[in-house]
């Protein structure tokens, strides 16, 4: 068969790619522009080399609404938050899936359904009462309050349960013959054989944790614990004159970690996503 380039496919995909990548490119170019030029409406699509230093400057910049808290600090908060949420979700979900798949204990199915119920109770539908619980336990403005309520995960538990159920019986029996107790089996066999799933789940959950907005909006009222996503939105809504070049530099910082994680682990992530969500 003779081959000529598939012009139609290139056309459609090129248009799609432009639609999704160009806005990010404009944000990047905007970061390198001067604030004055942007406010006059002269924004060029070509980045200014001299303007690249905004990416460094912005790390020390703090929105006036959150006195003394810099974008650099917010990035650190976001990193800590995303890591604790991702690793915490993986840890407690793997443990509960292990218990549910490998043991028989009273109320096992009730526990399983209670965990599944969290799927049906996103923060969006229980804003006020969750806030009330948080403040009764004095968790407002604490790192625990920012992360712990987000650590329960029905999706991760379901995924681990599926993976664990598929582990061959021979493996379990071999481990038992070798005298391995349940926890030894869990750590030395179950987790290593689930490594690809762990990696995929980590990507999905890191992105989830990093991109949180509503929860920090409720759980944090002083700037010290603002994650970057919240901080950037505050920069455009509270300041009298928005320093757009810095906002865009901060925006690029805010999307960089999840984008890098997704692109680097694309293959695992795509498989994990299509398996986990079904």
């Amino acid at each position: 068969m003779k081959r000529r380039p598939d012009y139609l496919a290139h056309g459609v995909l090129g248009l799609g790619a432009a639609l999704f990548a160009l806005p990010v490119w404009v944000a990047f170019a905007g970061a390198t522009e001067t604030a004055g030029a942007i406010n006059r409406g002269d924004l060029s699509l070509l980045p200014r080399l001299a303007g690249l230093r905004s990416f460094i400057d912005v790390l020390g910049y703090g929105a006036s609404a959150d006195a003394g808290v810099t974008i650099g600090h917010m990035l650190l908060v976001s990193f800590a938050m995303a890591l604790v949420i991702a690793l915490g979700k993986i840890a407690i979900s793997a443990l509960s899936a292990f218990a549910i798949a490998f043991f028989r204990f009273p109320f096992r199915m009730i526990a399983f359904w209670a965990i599944l119920l969290t799927l049906m109770l996103p923060v969006e539908v229980r804003i006020i009462p969750t806030y009330a619980v948080m403040s009764e336990f004095h968790l407002i403005n604490s790192f625990t309050g920012l992360t712990m309520p987000l650590i329960a995960s029905a999706t991760a538990t379901l995924l681990f349960r599926q993976v664990f159920l598929a582990v061959p019986d021979e493996l379990v029996e071999a481990a038992r013959l070798d005298g391995a107790g349940p926890m030894r089996f869990f750590l030395d066999m179950l987790l290593p054989v689930s490594a690809p799933n762990l990696a995929a789940l980590f990507v999905i959950l890191f992105v989830y944790g990093w991109n949180q907005y509503l929860w920090p909006l409720l759980a944090v009222t002083n700037g010290r614990l603002n994650p970057i996503v919240l901080g950037i939105v505050r920069m455009i809504t509270t300041d009298q004159i928005t320093p757009w070049n810095l906002v865009m530099a901060g925006t690029i910082w805010a999307i960089l970690p999840p984008v890098v994680v997704v692109l680097l682990m694309q293959r695992w992530f795509v498989r994990g996503l299509t398996e986990a969500d079904k």
């Binding site: 526990a111 329960a152 925006t251």
Partner: protein
Amino acid sequence: MERRTLFPGRALPAFLVLPQLAITALFFLFPAWRAFVESVRAVNGFGLNARFVGLANFAALLGSGTYRATVLRTLLYCTAVTALAMAGGLVLAVFADREIKGRAIYRALLILPYAIAPAIASVIFVFLLQPEIGLLTGVLKQAGIDWNYVLHGGQALGLVILVGAWKQVAYNFIFYLAGLQSIPRTLIEAAALDGARGWYRFRTMLWPLLLPTTLFLLVVNTVYAAFDTFALIFALTGGGPGTATETMVVKVYRDGIINLDLGGSAAQSVILMALIVALTVLQFRYAGGRERT
């Protein structure tokens, strides 16, 4: 499906599920219960003396024209976002499944928005379309369009729909592409030998095979549009101008946190819970055939 080989013991497994159960009970089930309790009570203006009012909060909501308008707006929003995002994802996936040069790059660029926070997507679009300085605003003005989403409700609604869809196309693209790639190549080649090409092949072969994916995505996208777009809308327009972009989740936040109408907000929470339970049950039914092996 259950395992045949098990470990003995009762205390250990109970201890292992405890952390997850404790968080679930404290931050999910208990607040949900409280929403039910609050939804049948009314609190006076000082936040004291709550009293039982039965279904009065619900009656007040359903009787209010603003709430009914919000429900209709949410319906419109979900339909528009779901339709745009799914059609976009499907078209791109069909072409990305072809064997062309550079498709790895196309794929990487197309899944990019998945990684971007909804609130940050809104910030980028504010930058592009802000009434005074936006890059695209200038283009629209030259085309004779009086673009100002801060003032014009219709434009604001159109904008939150577009950004909502922009953010979700990547997800649908990933699922449709996975669906297309799971179709056996031999099947496609056999169809090609029979002369099935282009639109005809898509309509008679690919589309029916993708139907399970489509049903699954239909539910997931509806849930996304109804519940996960709070950050996107709130950061972009705050629900305004007026109530032009106020969907149900935005209204719960505005009524509860900003206007401090606790009973009304709790009643709205209960309605939203009923909605998401219904959608989740649908999702499990459609995904069920594939998951429960």
